[in-house]
């Protein structure tokens, strides 16, 4: 799956949805569950997962039962925090900070 071609211009909403779901889980998630939670098909999920892995926003872990799981990295957490922080600033009528 990690060999899938990452999207050239990733959709902000899909990236944010995946990061949010992992943040909300507060721990690694089995890939198929993450795909269902992100509401995208397998092909799209594979491409976005490849993109997230390449950027270091998520990492893959092997679980004892053989299922591969996806975990949010500190960089992924920070990316999601920033996105939320910016939108929070905008809805409060401020320009998003750096």
């Amino acid at each position: 799956m990690a060999d899938a071609q990452p999207p050239e211009r990733p959709d902000l909403y899909v990236v944010a949805r995946l990061l949010e779901r992992l943040w909300r889980e507060n721990g690694p998630m089995v890939k198929t569950r993450l795909q269902v939670a992100a509401n995208v098909n397998y092909d799209v999920f594979s491409r976005y997962l490849a993109w997230l892995l390449r950027k270091g926003l998520v990492a893959l872990e092997n679980s004892p039962n053989g299922h591969e799981r996806v975990a949010l990295t500190p960089k992924g957490y920070e990316a999601y925090r920033r996105l939320v922080q910016w939108i929070d600033e905008v809805v409060h009528g401020r320009m998003p900070g750096p």
Partner: protein, 399 residues
């Protein structure tokens, strides 16, 4: 303060019971009740001493109040918090040697003012002291149940754990969007009923006009019979004019009203989920996406508040109602005098027309000013949202 309220209500009761002439008997309780509310709204109520600069203290308070599901509006150096549908609290913080002293003043919300004035006007003197006591009891309960647990006695602000940074931002954003959506809904609801009120007024005016024309053109020599014969036609004409207009208003405003309510409910549900920190559900809606979608709607919500009609602007609305009242009174006097003194009646009716015309022009001018303001706000918001989206995409690409 409770003692002051009880003393005031006791004074009102004593003055009310005393066997004085009605104007003397009723005036003091009236003045005391109004004065009491005015004084109470001017007295700052202390929240506590915080070991933090004023802005930090207020930001902490805003954060905690949002988590307690209160609607918080941040203004420079101040917070506006709505507690229930009737009361608004304005918090500020005064710098002190140790940090800051937080306090608030209360004021009725527009709905609260309307309610109070209605109680006053309809039931007159009976409950004059009751609103003040109700306000005090509400504030006392808010202090005890909400503020006391979140304002630390030591004044030291507790640190927010890092893991909560995302949740805090989500709660902040969702709470703000929910406030804007709810205010847009309330403003549109006000506009809807204002418009229906104007439709009813138009129906009454049409009835009056038809009555006048029918009475003037009727060949019946007896004045009473002329009026009685004209009434059914005039009433039917008034209804025929008002009903289509009422339906038109409903068709134009109601869909927007329902949409705003749907948004407010959706954001409230998400806000509650974030506040509760509910366990994740795979089919649950993404808060981030809802926030992005909501922020696209914000200009319309802000615009809805501006277009709420005159009744959303309390000062202008009061003046409008007073002048409108005079005009209608003049019109009614004119209509009443037509039978006995036609010249005086006609003069009164003609005299009321410039007032009605001026009110119409005033209303148009006010609406135009509101629309211009809304256009400027919408342009600024669109630019800000586009900049946000570009910044987010560029950030993700540059990672």
């Amino acid at each position: 303060m409770l003692a002051l309220a009880i003393a005031t209500i006791a004074a009102i009761g004593v003055l009310w019971i005393l066997p004085l002439a009605p104007p003397i008997q009723y005036l003091p309780p009236f003045v005391i009740a109004v004065g009491m509310l005015a004084i109470l709204s001017l007295v700052p109520i202390a929240v506590g001493q915080l070991r933090a600069p004023p802005n930090t203290g207020l930001a902490y308070l805003a954060y905690r109040l949002r988590f307690a599901e209160f609607s918080v509006e941040e203004e420079p150096g101040r917070l506006k918090v709505r507690i229930g549908p009737l009361l608004v609290l304005r918090f500020d913080a005064v710098p002190t040697a140790e940090g800051s002293r937080v306090r608030y003043r209360w004021e009725p919300s527009p709905v609260g003012w309307t309610g109070y004035l209605l109680v006053w006007g309809l039931v007159f003197f009976l409950p004059t002291g009751v609103p003040a006591l109700l306000v005090i009891l509400r504030l006392w309960r808010f202090n005890a149940r909400v503020l006391a647990p979140i304002v630390p006695a030591s004044g030291e602000l507790p640190s927010i754990p890092g893991v909560e940074a995302v949740r805090a931002a989500l709660v902040n954003g969702l709470s703000e969007c929910h406030r804007l959506a709810r205010e847009a809904y309330e403003a549109t609801r006000t506009r809807y009923w204002d418009s229906q009120g104007i439709v009813i007024l138009a129906g009454v005016l049409a009835t009056g006009l038809l009555l006048l024309v029918s009475v003037l053109v009727s060949p019946e020599p007896d004045a009473v019979r002329r009026v009685l014969g004209a009434i059914p036609l005039a009433v039917a004409g008034g209804i025929a004019a008002a009903v289509p207009l009422g339906l038109l208003v409903r068709r134009r405003i109601r869909p927007r009203l329902l949409r705003y309510r749907e948004w407010a409910d959706r954001l409230r549900a998400l806000l509650r989920r974030e506040i509760a920190g509910s366990p994740p559900q795979d089919e649950g809606e993404s808060s981030f996406e809802a926030l992005m979608a909501a922020s696209r709607e914000v200009p319309e919500w802000v615009d809805a508040r501006r277009r709420a009609g005159l009744s959303a602007d309390l000062g202008m609305w009061s003046l409008f109602v007073i002048v409108l009242g005079w005009s209608i009174e003049l019109l009614a006097i004119g209509a009443y005098q037509l039978g006995t003194a036609p010249l005086v009646g006609l003069a009164a009716i003609v005299g009321s027309l410039p007032f009605i015309g001026a009110l119409y022009l005033w209303w148009r001018w006010w609406g135009k000013r509101q629309r211009e303001g809304a256009t400027r706000a919408l342009d600024a918001w669109t630019a800000r949202f586009d900049a946000l989206r570009a910044q987010m995409e560029s950030y993700l690409e540059g990672l």
